[in-house]
Amino acid sequence: MFLMHISIRASDTKRAPAVPAGRARRAGTLVWLARHDRVSAAAMGFLLALVFVSLVGPLVTRYAYDREDLDALFQRPTTAHWLGTDQFGRDLLTRVLYGARVSLSVGASAVIGESLLGITWGTVAGFYGGVVDHVLMRIVDLLIAFPTILLAILVTGIFGPSLVNIVIALVLTAWPAMARTIRSEVVSIREREYVEGARALGASVPWILLRHVVPNVVHLLIVRATLDASFLVLAEATLSFIGIGVQPPRPSWGQMIYESFQYLGSHPWLVVIPATALSLTVISFNLVGEALAALLDPRYRRGRT
């Protein structure tokens, strides 16, 4: 999978159960899902565990992620190094855990950034309509005209691969689609009776937006943000893989895959372990996102691109 927003659940074998509309209360949706859909429960469990080990793991491990031990290159798993060591004798487990920290924090920052920007942009465009909508959405069209992460490659390529720049670049690639989704929903909400009623009562525009419009698009935001988390974690790994993402010695999964690829023949685990961690994370976000979409997004259809 190269960075396509694609539903991975097959249409006919969709396991997310159809839920009666009232059942999925917003706050409890994830809990409901965890109870009723085993696949989502497993995915959520994995993600929670990952967050936990990425927070706690580095505190527990006895090694620094960049501590090289030239007497212990390419070690097999031992009691000292549970996953063995890499080509510089660095503890692989420690690096995978720090990599999780980097992947999750970069991914989370980018998701938060693009969500805030996307919902603001989409709400304003959809609610005001007219010239404002036109101008704002043409900017969105322009950014979507770049093939997926090419813009991120341009930005980190020119301004340098600092963590902040990586996050900015990722936000830049992801937010236009978010804004488009939100805007299309806001356009229909704008015409609803409760909005009209609020207007008739003399409510100010910011009040209407915050009280009546935004709460009614939050479910779309949640669905989209979860799916985007999958995309963004993968995008960060791709940037790091091609050398313009997270810079050594700070480890990231994509960069570990790249650095160890030349040893694939002799020591495949050095590639397989970070690649598997990356895959499980990406797949988990995707599965949860798909299940949420089936629950919360009434317009959700298979074959979404």
Partner: protein, 306 residues
């Protein structure tokens, strides 16, 4: 139809200009001074001003942008910052055919294999083969290309060395990169094809065709596939976009001298003109492919009339 083409081209032009503007601005904001890059650390102020004037960098930004567009129209991407003797256009011109061939092969392979799997799965719906294809689809869509590439290289180049990892130019050099690039589009197209063929099989005209005694194969080729082909067309643009971004991974992995490889080298050497050109070329290609896909969709689908 002609009106639609004009409308669609009219939409693509401002997008291209906007993309060019963004890329131009990014280059302008890039850290470092082109004058210093060319002249080195020691030059007199007069030399600096002269070169700045010669490069047109003392003109207003709008003028510089128009000049940039004019140069683009003549496929002149300027000269490399790092190797002033090197014309970026030549560099791109040499690399572009390689990347294009790779992307085109990936799209063709994905369309053919995806359609084959999808139609196969739809005609034997709910059989063991169908389930197998479904599992393949989910795997193909969910496994990141980095892992897929590692697995393929390990299995077919290292464990059982039947394909080369490095080197470029021979037909067998294409096999692994094209496979990596086409895995997820194959899965995606297979799913689309399966569901659209599955729907077409339930249509009244299929029942009519069957009841008048046509053989299953005739029904499939004459009635079902023609009607089910449309949704597959729309995925081609997606497969192409996928191949462009995938090129950044594949060209690094297999050391292919394509556009993505050039772009990455340019980033590492801070050669911004080259990077700008590479991004612009890829974006222009992406816009063109989407344009062609949209127009052919409108052409093939009589229900869409503009």
């Amino acid at each position: 139809m002609a009106r639609y083409i004009v409308y669609r081209v009219g939409m693509a032009i401002p997008l291209f200009l906007g993309a060019a503007l963004l890329i131009f601005i990014a280059g302008h904001l890039a850290p470092g001074d082109p004058v210093q890059t060319v002249l080195g650390d020691r030059y007199t102020p007069a030399q600096g001003i002269a070169l700045r004037h010669q490069l047109g960098l003392d003109r207003p930004l709008a003028v510089q942008f128009v000049r940039y567009l004019g140069d683009l129209a003549r496929f002149d991407f300027g000269t490399s910052y790092v190797n002033p003797g090197l014309r970026v256009g030549d560099l791109i011109g040499r690399a572009l055919p390689i990347s294009l061939r790779l992307a085109a092969l990936a799209v063709v392979v994905a369309t053919l294999a995806g359609t084959l799997f999808g139609v196969g799965a739809a005609t034997v719906r709910r059989s063991a083969l169908d389930s197998l294809i479904q599992i393949g689809v989910v795997l193909g869509l969910s496994v990141p290309s980095l892992l897929a590439a590692a697995a393929l290289v390990y299995l077919f180049a290292l464990r059982w060395p039947m394909l080369p990892v490095a080197g470029w130019g021979l037909p067998q050099n294409y096999v692994l990169p094209v496979t990596v690039l086409s895995i997820s589009p194959i899965a995606f197209i297979a799913r689309i094809a399966r569901s659209s063929v599955g729907e077409a099989l339930l249509e009244d005209y299929v029942r009519t065709a069957r009841s008048k005694g046509l053989r299953a194969r005739q029904v499939l080729f004459r009635h079902v596939l023609r009607n089910a082909a449309l949704p597959v067309v729309t995925t081609i643009g997606l497969a192409f976009g996928n191949a462009i971004v995938g090129a950044f991974v594949v060209e690094v992995l297999f050391n292919i001298p394509g556009i993505a490889r050039i772009a990455i080298n340019a980033i590492l050497q801070r050669d911004y003109t080259v990077l700008q050109a590479a991004v612009l070329v890829y974006t222009a290609l992406f816009l063109c492919v989407n344009l062609v896909v949209d127009v052919s969709y409108a052409y093939l689908n009589p229900r869409v009339r503009y």
